[in-house]
Symmetry: D2
Subunit: 367 residues, 4 copies
Amino acid sequence: MRPNIRKIMVSTSGGDAPGLNAVIRALVKRAILGYGWEVVGSTAAYNGVMADPMDLIPLDMERVSGLLIQGGTILGTTNRGGPFEFPVQGTDGQWTTEDRSEDLIKRIRSLEVDAVVSIGGEGSQAISQKLFEKGLPIVGVPKTIDNDLSATDMTFGFQTAVETATEAVDKLHTTAASHNRVMILEVMGRDAGWIALASGIAGGADVILIPEIPYDIAKVVERVTTRQRGGIKFSIVVVAEGAYPKEGVPFAQESNIVGRRQPILGGVGRWLVKQIQEATGHETRVTVLGHLQRGGVPCPPDRILATQFGVAAADLVAQGKFGHMVALQNQNIVGVPLTEAIRQYKYVNLDHHLVHTARGLGVCLGD
Amino acid sequence: MRPNIRKIMVSTSGGDAPGLNAVIRALVKRAILGYGWEVVGSTAAYNGVMADPMDLIPLDMERVSGLLIQGGTILGTTNRGGPFEFPVQGTDGQWTTEDRSEDLIKRIRSLEVDAVVSIGGEGSQAISQKLFEKGLPIVGVPKTIDNDLSATDMTFGFQTAVETATEAVDKLHTTAASHNRVMILEVMGRDAGWIALASGIAGGADVILIPEIPYDIAKVVERVTTRQRGGIKFSIVVVAEGAYPKEGVPFAQESNIVGRRQPILGGVGRWLVKQIQEATGHETRVTVLGHLQRGGVPCPPDRILATQFGVAAADLVAQGKFGHMVALQNQNIVGVPLTEAIRQYKYVNLDHHLVHTARGLGVCLGD
Amino acid sequence: MRPNIRKIMVSTSGGDAPGLNAVIRALVKRAILGYGWEVVGSTAAYNGVMADPMDLIPLDMERVSGLLIQGGTILGTTNRGGPFEFPVQGTDGQWTTEDRSEDLIKRIRSLEVDAVVSIGGEGSQAISQKLFEKGLPIVGVPKTIDNDLSATDMTFGFQTAVETATEAVDKLHTTAASHNRVMILEVMGRDAGWIALASGIAGGADVILIPEIPYDIAKVVERVTTRQRGGIKFSIVVVAEGAYPKEGVPFAQESNIVGRRQPILGGVGRWLVKQIQEATGHETRVTVLGHLQRGGVPCPPDRILATQFGVAAADLVAQGKFGHMVALQNQNIVGVPLTEAIRQYKYVNLDHHLVHTARGLGVCLGD
Amino acid sequence: MRPNIRKIMVSTSGGDAPGLNAVIRALVKRAILGYGWEVVGSTAAYNGVMADPMDLIPLDMERVSGLLIQGGTILGTTNRGGPFEFPVQGTDGQWTTEDRSEDLIKRIRSLEVDAVVSIGGEGSQAISQKLFEKGLPIVGVPKTIDNDLSATDMTFGFQTAVETATEAVDKLHTTAASHNRVMILEVMGRDAGWIALASGIAGGADVILIPEIPYDIAKVVERVTTRQRGGIKFSIVVVAEGAYPKEGVPFAQESNIVGRRQPILGGVGRWLVKQIQEATGHETRVTVLGHLQRGGVPCPPDRILATQFGVAAADLVAQGKFGHMVALQNQNIVGVPLTEAIRQYKYVNLDHHLVHTARGLGVCLGD
């Protein structure tokens, strides 16, 4: 049975990703034009609702005009804990956290909001699932710039990040070639190497290092020196921030994701500079791309995907498919249960055709 | 049983598409590094082989260096007929065509070429199939910037074309808004509206017209005037070159593809300018994007796909899967029989999620 | 003596140019932060003031936030006549024009506006001068995307237009080379060839045709065929829309600017296609860049120049230098009398170093 | 009296700058087409000539085709000392330097090279002057991406660097605004703040710190907190790598350029993060742009300037104006004596209109 919806709320959370505003715009357009709903935005994830007075933004057609090409999110995000671990300051001044989820749901209901759309990463979707279990009619929109969610073939923001990284490789390429240098580009990817793999192939890197393949530094060094002996005095290395060597890094620690290690202190890029320079005598430089990968105008495919997600999220609400998340699967937009979506990471599988392609080009993957 | 390959030949044909050179580069790298083959390129499709003396380009690692980011094709293409309709000049000076396919195959064999990779559009793949039937060991790489081949989820060049078209919409947008104009962008798409649909959604167009949906000009005019009455004095129209009105264009002719009509004389964009201006009194302008969509540096996704295709084409040769074409299917690269691949167009289906998304945003599709 | 200013008005007029919004933003910031003034914008040139009720936009810090990178103008422009030739409809329904300048000045004074900043082209600055002579305290900001004003070394928008045109040449280059074509790009420039000359040099064109040098079509044809004989089977031609042949175009008419001719019917680009194709048998194509050159995000140098102009315009008002226009002269921003600035076109001088550079590269300039 | 030239040599040296290849291309075209000379390139500055056998590249029309849009330099550069401080290894294995300038000149003469064009920075031009004094007919082309040479209004590469930096500011802007952060971008500029000033204005930075204005960290902190109190919870800081605080950095050392200090250990950007975060409690992040500013395709103005320089350098040779360097002065290309050109830095003058513009916008310059 279709739910009776008159008003929905939307919020964004977690790190920046190009396309967040495009999702909001599409959702609002679909909600108003297609369903005649009212839309309100909560600022800084759910903090807008938790504030006194509440900090809410009415979202009408005029407010979302122009958002398609605008990076960031007009709703903002937060680093504070979610409603289940809400930070509170005791009378002694100390900060602790408490479960304020009931209060959140109560406040949302007091707004006569009939459904919530939560745009956010894996952590946010886990919170969404728990709120859903407590009775909040909620629909999720996945957001991970690393494209590391198995439930969806692609997430928005990823392709813009790959474009930014590829443009950086292009820029480093000419300098490396002219100046006989090893140029290292450190890109995002704590756990999954998709950005490194895609931008490395797109930029024609000689070495690509990803978290899924602990690298043998000797292999990397060998590649650089082999090229040099062949008369090519430069090399381009693209490394995911979460890549780590097979051995010899005592300070790497297990992460809370099973099998994940903390990035190397000071960054894997800097560590590689030292290793390669010492082993080869070759002038080696690193560029850490960092936040540049999360910002700016979304590229066309990200605008399209984000728009599809926004429209589909409104559709899920209209269909009463709460506790579901929109996803791209085999070129179609579908709804998947949040329970399936969360904690199902999509790592680079060594059988993946991109890995095969990289090897086919003679790219060193560190193994 | 794996064939015994020592030397392969590659050629490109048909209209330009960003990524052609990237295919060549990946093919050559895979052939040399992975299989130890020699590679030679025939210029201007098979014309290089048909010339006396033959016009062939040896393709080694150095020759393909830098091709990844270079538009066009170093092998060139031709507008002349293929080997089955080879143009010959009679003693009376008149041009006729004759079947020179046997001669072509003989010449290729005389080069001790063990397999041929043909990168080209639907017409070229049909020729490849016929040459394969005559005994030539041949592998195809699909090339259609319109992305209108059902055998593959995506073709290289398409995303660069969409990017170019989207950037054009972005540029027109600010002028349209400032100057209260209807701005029309005519993009490629004789039979399929993928570029118009994708760039229209990515650019936030108000009207998108595609060949698959014959448009009612009254609906287009209504959209423009409705916006105007709502205080928004500009509109953006993206139209595929092959779009045509439901009625009232006497000079439209059936094309050789069943159901296809010839584009409107002078271009559909110009025709729309006249129609909209007359009906609304609104200042209306058209920009015909044309060749700009086929040129330039391939965008990262096109570089990646072209590279995957190049590597996979070499793999098909190595596996002896002749008479097959590489294709992207559900995120994987596969080989499909040429017989299945040719003449299976992929039109915009009205059930496609992109159509749904456009409607969900309130975009007028002319129906 | 410094004038006592409390409130200023700003308006934009004429064709679009990237940087208009950046001027408005800088002007408002300087006016508010530096001088404590109130700023109001008149929409559609002076039409906002002439409307009943007046259509004015209060411009504060929040309103101009984000304008730096936004193409177009939030104040809009108009094609209607200025206050001296204001269109009025008689009781018989016929449109005539009358001088409404006194009314305009009266209305502006009724707003307690102490000074006006008019951002516009040569025509607008001529109106500004006449209004100034009638007592309106007015300061001008030059706007011509063609960079054809002698009073200033550079105008904003020009460099973005050159960038757009150069990117187009880059895209055409690879297709031309791969497909053995003559590719023609028609760019803006009715009277002055700066855009064609700059983008032609920046894009590596083989032929550049500008209005200042009536071309000999035989010379153009010769260049194409010479290249072909030398084994280079493609050529790139960049032509300003106002370029015309030395002889043989009967329908060219004298323009209202002395010595200027109307562009060739159907466009000079199309005319060249026919001429070159007939004379050489070479496949020749034209792309008309049109409105794409006026839109989009201003490039960094245009953002900087527009910002300098906006700040300087406020400074001129503060200094009471009315009847002056801001200008870039020898890397400094100065104020020049409007009387000097108007009707002093800056054509491409044949002694200019850019002309020398083009010839030095072997570019055919049609003479 | 015009010299009798038949053959010239060209070399590039120092750090990368977009446009180096464009200079080489224009020089070669002008030399061959305009003067009928032969051109040879020495690799890695003069190292190509000093090698046994000499490592020289013949430069003809085909070799320079396509170089206009290619970053880097096909001639390469070196970090080794010039001919006056040539590194030599003694019999004891120790490296020392000796004056090999006579040997260099002898070797160049043995090639029947009639003139040398040296493209390089201030250090290279000083070497050129000394070689000129020793009788080598030499012409210089200035190269400094920092645009800090007083003899020329502009150097190629600078505008591309500004574009890259501005695009980075644009990307950081949306993330900063969405996520309430202070975002710092560290750009090039050891001694001169032109890149920071230009990209800061073009990107709409709130704080711009340059070496010419030692900053008061309290002023920077005040700007961030003032914005925050006004409800704007983010700030953008662009800082030149050579900027330093007025006081409190004990490890800053005097540089060999009088008045210059060494950059702060670990980089000024990181230092600022710590200072701002501690003082404001605001989440603060730094991005170090580094090598990305030196690479990639030159933007149109840099292509044009580099091309003008290349043509003009050949002209200086033809005119026998040895010991001179090409320069842009007041929109014209001229030759200036090397003696005037070297060691005349162009710092940001506090009276410069860009400084005035920044202040006019309310930008904090740290003072």
